[in-house]
């Protein structure tokens, strides 16, 4: 199930909220546990078993590690190792097996059959969430959760189950035991959710159509203007899609009394690539920093080792985004710029701030082309057109048509990806702001609903029988 659907907005959510606030607070975790599984199992009911197994595995590991850490650290370490391997094995099996099979089959004489399993939704997110819990218990960063339902509620918590933020157990441990839902928090949650819904349905879905227009254009068709329109459109799509989802997750969390950490912080205003990754998908970068980069020694073991660590972390970050070698390449592409910056570029960029903005945007926008194109040859078609080596010239009437049609939306989206809008809003008189919020909420809800209802609008024109 996805948030931006009629099913979620007008059936699932009203029922979840109504029952949640009607039952006494001691039943609320159990209710969440149940509806989480419904949410998760909606697309692939069989995978509920996988989810329950994953919860059980990490729950038991947490208990054992908690028991052994003070007395027999060695045993605790073994449990942790087994648990980590088991989690990663599940992730590997469902997400990466086919990629490895396909790659091995390229070797003459080797044939590994593909499994063709559908990817359990959110597995990349919840594996990281669950894995971090036994590690935190082992490190003494977190208490042990003895209640299975509470732990299960955390793992499968529907707001952040399928697209983050990656919530660590220790960050919401206390909220699982005791939450103080309040009017303030609920109103905040509503506002945040509706902002996210608008970002996803009104901006991301629509600018995405512009990318689709150009994505498969041949070398002879793709102009300079067309390639940039498409690349900018996708850069906006992925930002608004992803941050919109995070906003909806954070908003839903608030409606249920949870506070999640922020996941995006206006990434496109960054002056350096290093800064970009501190503002983009923050919970993922933090996760890799705390569970991979720092345990590997981070920057404490000399420069060569630090560079190696960066390469490892960014290879993994790349592959985490998808089971394809283009994602590995995309990760290494970022490693390249991050290493350059570590070595000397950061200092230089400190003195040339305007250049920094342009450079970071170019790296990010070009990076999204690598990210989204499934073939290297098509990526090259784009880069040739974007950087002036294309065969199709500068601009065609078709490009102008799309520029005119999507221009207002693209401009609005660019503006919305800057903090300026929020700052301007904050300057309005208090009274106006208070009145504007409910009106804007209603407006976004109504228009988003129109787009969602339209999404299955596919009139059957050749009627028969």
């Amino acid at each position: 199930m996805v948030f931006s659907s009629i099913l979620f907005l007008f059936i699932y959510l009203p029922i979840v909220l109504a029952v949640y606030y009607l039952v006494p607070s001691r039943w609320r975790n159990l209710w969440l546990f149940i509806v989480n599984l419904v949410f998760y199992g909606w697309g692939e009911p069989v995978y509920i078993l996988l989810m329950v197994f994953s919860i059980w595995l990490n729950y038991v590991s947490g208990l054992l590690i908690g028991k052994y850490v003070p007395v027999e650290k060695k045993k605790a370490r073994i449990v942790l190792a087994v648990n980590t391997v088991a989690n990663l094995a599940m992730l590997f099996f469902f997400k990466y097996f086919d990629l490895v099979a396909e790659t091995l089959s390229l070797i003459p004489g080797v044939r590994v059959p593909k499994l063709g399993l559908s990817l359990p939704i959110g597995i990349s997110f919840y594996t990281f969430q669950t894995m971090s819990y036994p590690i935190d218990v082992y490190r003494g960063d977190s208490y042990v959760q003895k209640n299975f339902i509470k732990f299960g509620t955390f793992v499968a918590l529907f707001p952040q189950l399928i697209a983050g933020p990656i919530v660590r157990y220790k960050d919401i441990a206390r909220q699982l035991d005791k939450r103080h839902e309040s009017l303030d928090q609920f109103a905040d949650g509503v506002r945040r959710f509706v902002v996210g819904l608008g970002k996803k349905v009104l901006i991301a879905n629509n600018v995405g159509l512009l990318w689709d227009v150009y994505a498969n254009a041949g070398a002879g068709e793709l102009t300079f203007v067309g390639s940039w329109l498409a690349a900018v459109a996708f850069s906006l799509q992925i930002y608004f899609d992803f941050s919109g989802y995070s906003d909806m997750a954070i908003g839903l969390g608030k409606m249920l009394g949870f506070e999640f950490l922020e996941n995006f912080n206006y990434p496109y205003i960054s002056r350096t690539v290093t800064e970009f990754w501190r503002r983009w998908h923050i919970s993922l970068s933090t996760w890799f920093r705390d569970y991979v980069y720092i345990p590997l020694g981070g920057s404490r073991k000399g420069l060569p080792r630090q560079l190696l660590n960066l390469l490892i972390v960014w290879s993994l970050t790349g592959l985490w985004h998808g089971a394809s070698w283009t994602f590995l390449f995309w990760g290494l592409y970022y490693a390249f710029f991050l290493i350059l910056e570590k070595l000397f570029l950061l200092k230089w960029l400190d003195r040339h701030k305007a250049v920094g903005h342009v450079y970071t945007l170019l790296v990010a926008v070009s990076g999204w082309v690598i990210f989204q194109q499934t073939s290297v040859s098509q990526t090259l078609v784009f880069f040739r057109a974007m950087y002036g080596l294309g065969q199709a010239g500068f601009c065609t009437g078709r490009d102008l048509y799309y520029m005119a049609g999507y221009g207002p939306l693209l401009l609005a989206a660019c503006f919305a990806s800057l903090p300026a809008g929020r700052a301007l809003f904050a300057r309005l008189p208090e009274k106006l702001r208070s009145a504007a919020v409910p009106a804007l909420i209603a407006l976004v809800l109504v228009i988003s609903t129109a787009y969602l209802v339209d999404s299955t609008y596919n009139p059957f024109l050749y009627f028969r029988f």
């Binding site: 907005l9 078709r398 048509y401 221009g407 228009i447 129109a450 209802v453 339209d454």
Partner: protein, 373 residues
Amino acid sequence: MKKTCQIIAIAVFLLFIGGFFVLNIVTPDREFSPQENKYLQMLPDFSFKALFSGKFTKDFEDYTTEQFAFRDAWITMKARCELLSGKKENNGSYYCGDTILPDFDDPGQAEIDRRADFVDALAEAVDAPVYFGLIPGATEINASLLPKNAPADSQQTVLDWAYGRVRSTAGNIDLASALGAHKDEYIFYRTDHHWTSLGAYYGYTALCESMGLTPSPLSAYDRQTVSEDFCGTTWSSSGFTWVKPDTIETFVPDDGSVTVMNLEKQPPVAGPLYDTSFLDVKDKYSMFLGGNSALRSIDTGHDGPTLLIVRDSYTDSLVPFLLEHFSRIDLVDLRYYRDSLARYIEDNGFDSVLVLYSVSNFTTDQNLFLLAM
């Protein structure tokens, strides 16, 4: 003050999602949507088999969206929002003032060659002369109405390429010139992809020229307006539901001397030239011959040779003009006809064969290969 606004914000949100939750339960489900011309998803039956195959959840999601309260109004609102945001199209149709024009995609020369070769194969397989006609749509003929720089591909290019490719036909009908010469007249519906009866008349004159017939002059017909509220296919698909409806005319009266046998059904069913019952429903264009059918045989009540037409729906409004020139006209629709076409032509000894498609159907229909079977 702050608190009041928070309460209002929460109330707006909860009333909206809760309100539609209730509304969707109390408003009755519609089995059929006239605006979309399709059956809507009804509440699916639950079974564990359907649940585990994923069919139940998928159908249920379609159900929630397709039965959403005031669905048609939401669709129109979305279309208006698209125009407000600066776009000139919605769901594949261009907004051109009081006219809606569907988009057109050129499938490329290789694909056109492949399709044209099926026509050739038929022409080689049968003894009767085979005529070939491609009807350009309003998007081509009225291209000047399109929004500036609209990326609709040229249908003339497709047409020229296909006509250049076929070698074995007795004649390729120049419908584009005939229609182009009258492009300022009401030859295409503004809310539908079909030609009007007037457009079909000009098509008929082009056909006569190719086949060596003498067309009746326009003044010879008794024009009757049969509907003034026809909202067609592009009206439906675009969501531009505020565009004013079309008028449907007939030129040739149905005096009862014509018998249309629908051979798809067993036993065959006789029908009228104009099935006026369709004028009471959304799909009014289907009043011509009563809509699509795999095979129909028309006894015209006139003397003359026989003709077989491999048709799409454009043919239905053309047929009334052809009646006076033939004694029998059969209409085969390859989307539904599953026997050998060549054998049917030979068995019935047709004097001539006409393959007549709109450019749009010619480039997209998946059943053209049946011409060659």
